[in-house]
């Protein structure tokens, strides 16, 4: 059981920053255990495949540790962490696109199936992958991670109105894409 379980994230970060090798790393490991699943889920939705999600998660957590001295005690840890994670996932996608412009973020983890549920899920994943990075980040943070628009604004460092506008833009594009998929499937029947 974590020795820091009753402490807030900010309090644990203070221990990470103030302490030497062993104590600081133990505290950081506890912090990782709190957040790793949620960060992984965020990265999975942003990157669209498991391998990239794991790479981005590792990168995000390593950056958090490396930049721990930059964390201001009066700020909210979660906001800072979300920003690092979103940047890590986005950077990974950009690097992969730079190396291989045809890079497909969506991987098929198994043969495509006729199941309606899994097909819908795949359509959504594909539609999300086609969004620009800045729109996809907003959708994932608001719709899936349930952050408020104000929190997303703090995380991304942009005005709240911009966040909400991007969300509307993203829903418009997703709606058209998902409708197009519906129409093409109807025509092919």
């Amino acid at each position: 059981m974590s020795e820091h379980r009753k402490l807030t994230d900010e309090a644990v970060m203070a221990i990470v920053c103030a302490n030497g090798a062993d104590d600081g790393r133990r505290a950081f490991a506890d912090l990782v255990r709190r957040w790793e699943q949620r960060i992984h889920r965020l990265c999975f939705r942003l990157t669209g495949n498991t391998q990239d999600a794991e790479d981005a998660t590792q990168e995000a957590l390593a950056r958090v540790f490396a930049k721990r001295d930059q964390f201001r005690g009066d700020a909210k840890f979660s906001t800072w962490l979300w920003r690092i994670a979103v940047n890590a996932a986005t950077d990974l996608q950009r690097r992969k696109r730079a190396v291989s412009p045809q890079h497909e973020s969506i991987s098929h983890d198994g043969p495509v199936s006729a199941s309606v549920t899994s097909e819908n899920r795949h359509r959504v994943r594909e539609a999300l992958a086609e969004l620009p990075d800045q729109l996809r980040s907003v959708v994932v943070l608001r719709h899936y991670e349930q952050l408020k628009f104000r929190e997303i604004a703090e995380t991304l460092g942009i005005p709240q109105g911009t966040v909400a506008s991007r969300m509307a833009d993203a829903l418009d594009r997703l709606g058209r894409k998902l409708q197009d998929n519906d129409s093409s499937e109807t025509r092919s029947c």
Partner: protein, 227 residues
């Protein structure tokens, strides 16, 4: 926010409304506007449909409000929900095939041949579907330790020593730059001293020449008028 037919709320306002973040006053006002404005009602309806589509991509992990991960219960409920999704997917697939079997049996070859063929196809498809659903569920329900503790600590240790190495190199560079600055300053001071000495020598020379010219002028004057 004014609620008139010609004063539509912005897209950003609608997003706050759809995600339950509008103030009570705004929410009432926008609801009244929706009832009276078909254009906005259409937009909102399309957005709601898209939001519903997005919900097709579910996730399993549950979180406490402070952000800590409820690992054991989330993992159990995650595994249970993953199993249910797989089971429902497989059931849907089985029904699809049974419906196809019913149609084919009316027009195709004998029932025994059809049954064998159908069984083989169904098994193949179910295995494939199971693998795909399991892989997808696993992606959304990662194991308790995505990041291995020992691996993380070791990686952080190597990151730290790499950072320390970088810091040392930067310190060494800065020290070199500082040394260069000191040397440059000494050179400039030497140059200043030498320049001043040269100026002094030049002034003395000029005075000597001036004095010499004066003697020459006086001699000329004496020479021209000795008495």
């Amino acid at each position: 926010m004014e609620d008139t037919m010609h004063d539509h709320p912005s897209s950003a306002d609608w997003m706050l409304y759809l995600y339950g973040e509008s103030t009570e006053t705004d929410r009432r006002s926008m609801s009244e506007h929706l009832a009276a404005c078909p254009e906005c009602a259409g937009r909102v309806e399309r957005w709601r449909a898209t939001m519903s589509d997005l919900d097709a991509w579910e996730t399993e992990t549950r979180l406490e409000p402070a952000g800590s991960v409820v690992q054991s219960s989330a993992h159990r409920s995650g595994a249970r929900n993953a199993f249910m999704r797989v089971a429902i997917g497989l059931a849907g697939l089985a029904l699809t095939f049974l419906a196809g079997f019913g149609a084919r049996s009316l027009i195709g070859p004998g029932p025994d041949d059809l049954k064998s063929q159908l069984r083989a196809e169904l098994q193949t498809e179910l295995r494939a579907e199971f693998s795909r659903q399991t892989a997808e569920s696993t992606a959304l329900t990662p194991p308790n330790r995505v990041v291995d503790d020992a691996g993380l600590v070791s990686r952080l240790a190597s990151w730290e020593s790499a950072s320390a190495g970088r810091e040392e190199r930067v310190r060494s560079m800065l020290s070199g730059v500082l040394q260069n600055q000191i040397t440059l300053r000494e050179d400039l001071e030497t140059l200043a001293v030498e320049a001043e000495a040269q100026i002094m020598r030049t002034r003395r020379e000029l005075r000597r020449l001036r004095d010499q010219n004066q003697i020459t002028d006086e001699f000329r004057e004496f020479a021209s008028n000795p008495y």
